[in-house]
Amino acid sequence: MKILDWIIVAAYLAYVIWDGIRLTKHSQTAEGYFLANRSLPWWAVGLSVMATQLSAITLVGTTGQAYSDGMRFIQFYYGLPLAMIILCLTVVPFFHRAKVYTAYEYLEKRFDVKVLALTSFCFLISRGLGVGVIISAPSIILSIVLGWNLIATIFAIGLSTTIYTVFGGVQAVTWTDVKQMFVIFFGLAVCFIVILSGFPADVSLGDGLRLAGSLGKLNTVDTSFNLKESYTIWSGLIGGLFLMLAYFGCDQSQVQRYLTAKSVDEGRTSLLMSAFLKIPMQFFVLLIGVFVFVFYQFNQPPIIFNSTEYAKAETSAQFQAIQRNYEIAHAERREAAIKFSSESLEFRQNYIEAD
């Protein structure tokens, strides 16, 4: 990383922490800290809902999944709009009118404090484990990129988040999520342009899509009833529906978001906004993974992506022999990919049918 990169990262982190602390003046009461005084607009809540689902794992893991497995994963989200409608009809007005601080507080009112303690404990354990993975996965990548110790990287990521969350409460979290979403959208657009610019001059966006499609990477709808298939339209509509109902209806990390909305209407609108944007956004994230795959049809990927591990292996004679064979195989693959991209539609169809 160059000095300018470091300045941008440091300035952004400093701004996020400063803005979070600035919001503490609105968070001095319990209602202000946990519910933002029920004052947030629907678009901020909606973006926060989306940002809460969109962790670093989504950006790294989902693009990686598209690279290796194509766009099948998008079907997982087909049940989301239906789940959001059911939640808008049931849970959103229910929680809002119950005037609770958390999803589990209602259970105390309905049953007793033991049920509240049990559900809260289960949530904190599962969320703690989840956040552990969410922070450690990008830390592994960042520690390699920056050459930092892994533990130090985890602290660097976790500390800034902890500071603004502890001081600013849900209001700071929500407004930081809004900023993060804009940064993420911008970052995705930049990634897309950078990948496209890495294609050979005579290979267009359409050629790249045709190449990906012919290699089975653009399968967005699978109507088969194969139970061994993880992602089909049916698993998305049925399994995805119930998973999303549980996540958005019972998980405090999500319920807390729409409890901060100004009214039931604003809470509903925020969830529907998320439902409306999630599939196109996920499509775009997966498309980047597919384009990384296409990119590496024309550009040789390293045998080992981890530069530290690569440096350890490259001196061995066995590795060098493998490297030579790999380079020859990739050159042939590149030639075939360029030839396929430059041929007519009829040739491509005949080729795919013959294959």
């Binding site: 709009p81 808008c88 990906a212 499609g213 653009l218 009214s263 529907l272 539609l345």
Partner: protein, 44 residues
């Protein structure tokens, strides 16, 4: 109390929301169809 009553009375009627839900369902069907057409077109 007055503020709470005011909030409840300014909520949009159910009929409005039913139309919104219908629009979301139609939009979802259109999006899935568009994705299916996209896959079919570029997989030829």
């Amino acid at each position: 109390v007055h503020k709470t009553e005011e909030k409840i009375t300014t909520e949009k009627p159910n009929a409005f929301w039913y139309r919104v839900y219908l629009a979301i369902i139609v939009a979802t069907i259109l999006v899935i169809t568009a994705l299916w057409l996209f896959s079919a077109y570029f997989s030829k």
